[in-house]
Amino acid sequence: MAQPDRDTDGDGTLDERLWVVQDANYNVTVLFDNSGNVVERYIYDPFGQVTVLDTDWTERSGSAFAWVYLHQGGRFDATSGLYHFRFRDYSPTLGRWTSLDPLRYDAGDVNLYRVVFNAPTVYVDPFGLDNDIPDAVAVPLPGPLLPVQNNLLPHISRQWQRLVQECDLIFDGESWQAVGGRGLLLGVKANVNAIATTARSLVTLGIWAEPWEVWAVDDADRPFYEGGFLAARFGWELLPTAGIGKLTQAPGQMGRWGRYALPWDAVQNTVQVGRGSWDIHQNGLSWTNGLPVGGLLGLRGNYATWRRLPAGGAAPRTWQDFLPEAQMRLQATKAKYGNVEAQMMAMSRKDALKRLNGLTPKIEEHLQKIANDPMSRDLPHWTREVENWIRQMEKVLPYIGDKTAAEWAARIAEWKARLGG
């Protein structure tokens, strides 16, 4: 996270860029300058009351950098003393929201003003809607599907939760959603859960078919899969969960599994002890089994795996084997789309500002021409030129930062008004 360049002394030069460090709950803890030097520190009480410190840990009365993104990344308004979190404002002094939860009881808490079950060191709520666990990988759905995401899926998840609480052995379902390059992807995972309620723990042995794993493979990448085209993937996983009592006391927590595409092990007190899959390839069957070496230490994603190779017993391929194919693909992409690098290169803020500054004299000149000779035969040409340049400017506004873009948008609005007049 970085603050866009700002003009600290009002001389028209953007002379400062700041970088921040956030802790696991997205609290901003340190500001850095462009050279990596700490310039300001922040400490918080559990409910977000901030204390600003200088580099030597001496207290400051306020931020020397007008920094406003603090507790859980919320935007702090010093005048009202409230944090803004998209749907609601939050008071760190009261330790509660200042308005009712827009989701009402669907958020899973009977107290509609309570913030994340009064446990802000465990949960976050970046939208002011529902509690989330901070290390989860959340994929929000596109706007038109938000009602499904916010209402239907949490409802389904709560029904499953009720079953989990009432039964000793059940089938559990997990819905998967993700927004990929080719649209909305949905999958279903069926797990068999053995629940020992007396031990207040949950053991999940899941056998699943996961269309997502197959669909997520881009067509262009399929030749790189050992054994060719990946047609289907079935898998297993073993997930003991400690502290099921904690889960059942926080009903909103299970609701979120339906709201977002989350693996089981995103739940903080769940440890994945094994996972494997059978892949049906173009050239046969292969399987992979894995033990998460780092899982018990909280380092997810580090697996020790053993594999059965695809039919034919081909040796694992190295990067040299892939190189000719990669070169061919690169050439094909270039032939199809032209200069790939240029297309992928994002316009820098500086370049965008240069374009705006380069076009401004032209717009002013032509508006002056229009004002000087409003009956000119060339008026339509000049108007079209100015309109075109304004369109060009509006295209680069997204690259210059919100504040600067707002200033340019105001300027553009003024030009449009002059043009319209």
Partner: protein
């Protein structure tokens, strides 16, 4: 130095010579509109031309930053005018450098 009206007159004659066939087939009013547009598209950027010529004569007068801003405005302004003038006088003019530019950057 010739006046603007002299240049406009000359450009009109150029258009007439190059577009004799068009004059015979088009409605006179439409022909006159195109002729006038051609002259406009060749004239409207004369200030840019003078500034460019000055800069080329005295490159030390502009620093790189100012020259960059000037050139951005120049290209955004002049290229559409020349494209339009080219279409009016010569119909379509192909761009031989599009592919070369791409290859150069890859």
């Amino acid at each position: 130095m010739p006046s603007i009206s002299q240049i406009e007159q000359l450009l009109g004659q150029v258009f007439d010579l190059a577009r004799q066939g068009l004059r015979e087939t088009l409605d006179p009013e439409e022909y006159e509109r195109r002729r006038r547009d051609f002259i406009f598209h060749m004239i409207d950027w004369r200030d840019d031309l003078e500034r460019l010529a000055d800069w080329f004569k005295h490159p030390e007068q502009l620093e790189a930053e100012s020259a960059g801003s000037f050139l951005i405005g120049f290209l955004y302004h002049v290229i559409p005018h020349l494209n339009a003038a080219g279409r009016l006088l010569l119909d379509e003019i192909g761009d031989p450098f599009v592919q070369t530019d791409r290859q150069d950057r890859v």
